[in-house]
Amino acid sequence: MSINRKELEEIATLAQLDIPEQQLGEITASLNQVMAMIEHINEADTAAVKPMGTPHEAQQLIRPDAVTDCSHKKDLLALSAHADEDHYLVPKVIE
């Protein structure tokens, strides 16, 4: 598996990253190196193998439906680079 520049641009769009034009070639090559390495997983016969998502077979923790937290409005909005006293602000979205 390998990707070309156009596919790299599509991936960058999915990941919301900018890649400067002059770096496209270099990054494509670098990703293709990794992809070549990844390709080895195909050497394994996994026909009868179940995917493993997590190392342990434990039960998911379930929480009772209780309100245990209170407002953090001030703390949260203070972390934002752009907020008014009530809201986070972003460049206008046209739906």
Partner: protein
Amino acid sequence: MINLSIRALSELLQQKQISIQELCGVYHDRCQSFNVNTNALISICAELSAAELLQAQQQLDAGELLAGVPLVHKDLFCTQGIKTTCGSNMLADFKPPYDATAVTQLAAAGMVNLGKANMDEFAMGSSNEHSAFGVVKNPWDSQRVPGGSSGGSAAAVAARMVPVATGTDTGGSIRQPAAFCGITGIKPSYGRVSRHGMVAFASSLDQAGVLAVSADDCGLVLSQMCGHDPLDSTSLKTSTWQWDKPKDSNMQGLRVGVPHAWIDALQDEGIKNKTTEAIEYFKQQGASIIDIELPHADLAVSAYYVLAPAECSSNLSRFDGVRFGHQTNAAENLEALYRKSRSEGFGEEVKKRIMIGAWALSAGYYDAYYLKAQKVRRLISEDFNKAFESVDVIASPVSPELPFKLGEKADGVSMYEADKFTIPASLAGLPCLSMPIGFTAGLPVGLQLIGRYFDEQNILALADKYQLDHDHHMQIPEAFL
């Protein structure tokens, strides 16, 4: 004093031969003076927190062993009101409004936080060269890397800027820097320590652990960090554990599995010799050495570089410049806000992994790569299960190479492949540690011990027994004496 064990430091404090303030002061001074040489810390607390000192004193009075012992946290543990950068420009000014559970638990025992340790950005890297806050230098040779991603934690302990540091390990990020810096480091079983408040890299692999001088110190601190956390669905209900230090170095009856194929393939004769010597010592002490095979372990790096980037690509989507973290100055529209904030905030290695992950999860590749890699992960895990039918502990090299020179490895893939001994146990979620087993060419060499799931006791006990008869872990680089 700077080479005393936690038990010895605690005794000094209990007997009032030194106060908590004095002890922490000594280390605080060392942090400040040696950070210039090592760059091990991203931030050093300007002064010790009065509240922490009070808590430390109360815990000391209550007889708590860890009370008053200073430490630094890897800079991806959220610390309330204290900058938590993850080694990234993205979080250069991020002061979390809450503490990670591990941080809370260590503070509750009276440990005193002196600062935050440097790291590869978002824990992605094996050399600490991928930090937005500069490279960390290996205390044993300032031309060389300390390993990564917990390189700052490892270097800080190696230079005795602190007796202990927290770290995290996703594919070797505690063990490899511990080996490179000549100290002991343990990554516990997945689910042993809460991940709440640890900025996530790869959720199904990340696990917090300890870097310290000795296995005993690691065991003491890990006992305090672990335990079930209702804020982390993947932390296990049975995760409370107490380190039990063995009485002697007798290894009678212990079955140590060795993947000889790994050792045979080592290119570095020094590492090979040290590894063989250490295993020979186990045998002398009465352990039986059993050759094991891990047939799918060769695929571990490949599977890991699908799974970890996939999870990271999603975990790092929250850094969009809106609610916290870096926001670009030049956003004419929403798309630009996202793309510029993220591109300016993330370093090259992080961006690369995000893109690999986005690709592996994208339509058309999911089954062939992501799902396939999860299946390979199970095969690797089953290899370990099979091996542990006939052995109690597995011993192997940590890294196929010695600490390399800064800037020496431009090629990403060769750096990835150097994690081939540490990644398999990460995929299986097993407890594993690295301990110093000597020096070659003036550089430290580590040995990896891997245990059964939730059997931290056996690997730490084996390391502790080894350390009773050896002083490799007690060595301090000359410049930091």
